[in-house]
Symmetry: C2
DNA sequence: ATAATTAATAATAATGATTCCTATTTTTAT
DNA sequence: ATAAAAATAGGAATCATTATTATTAATTAT
């Protein structure tokens, strides 16, 4: 029971996310997906994003700005948030598995994983801000 | 100009936070601080928590559950969120400075820092869940 | 000390993201 | 094709947080 059914809307949402590398918010997904289906509702977008994230088909990101973002790329990687322009970029980092072990050292309990995002200035914002000495 | 003035309410909020190690939400701060000052308003609590966090006197935490938490301890440390009981615990980890360098390796731009929290089962929840084999 | 400033507050309205509700529409199994 | 129930559309509701504004209180000048 509780079998999951196919839906046009969910497929549309998922394939839209796969075309984007910029981690859009639910509202951005909604506004874009309406080009293909003008009658889709915002609630449907939220429900399906949550469903897809729960099933591990997409990732939900929270970079602390009060809005959830979604990532169609579920391969292991990290994120960077530009403090100036606000864009969210992908980041590959080596050897991050170890930090769960490092955290376990002084901790009684079971550490299942971690959430990390980096912040600073992205390439173009850093160039603009460059100290002209 | 724009000199900051002293206020009873801000002092009350800050000293309350210093007594707590459990990273309370704004609403929890509000409900507790009302014992000392029943006329304090929720807006005042929010405004002062934001102000104190901006000045670095307290820390604002976001563990992805849609509510901001506040920490009176501004010394460098990390946080752990129990997936079962929801409590937020402090965590000391060695050698975490390196991860900003590791992240910079494959990144064009300036990395200023990172935000990390760990999740899993806290000590007592892990004990309860223990496999009784 | 007293009066003049103006930051801070209290109380409440407003906002914005997200979730909930329900009658209707789609999927899927028979 | 029909029935059962998952999913949707549209809109109302929720909840954390921010904004507004008249009033109060902390600081500064007199």
């Amino acid at each position: 029971m509780t079998a999951r059914r196919h839906s046009r809307q969910r497929e549309l949402i998922k394939s839209f996310l796969e075309t984007r590398k910029d981690h859009p918010t639910a509202d951005t997904v909604y506004r874009n997906v309406r080009n293909q289906n003008p009658r889709i509702s915002l609630g449907t977008v939220y429900r399906n994003l949550t469903l897809l994230a729960e099933e591990g088909e997409i990732r939900r990101l929270n970079v602390g700005d009060g809005v959830d973002r979604f990532d169609g790329d579920v391969s292991p990687h990290y994120h960077f948030v530009c403090q100036k322009c606000g864009q969210v970029l992908d980041l590959q980092i080596e050897g991050m598995e170890e930090i769960d072990y490092a955290a376990s050292e002084n901790f009684h309990g079971r550490i299942a994983g971690h959430v990390t995002y980096f912040y600073g200035l992205c390439g173009s914002c850093a160039d603009q801000t460059e100290d002209p000495s």
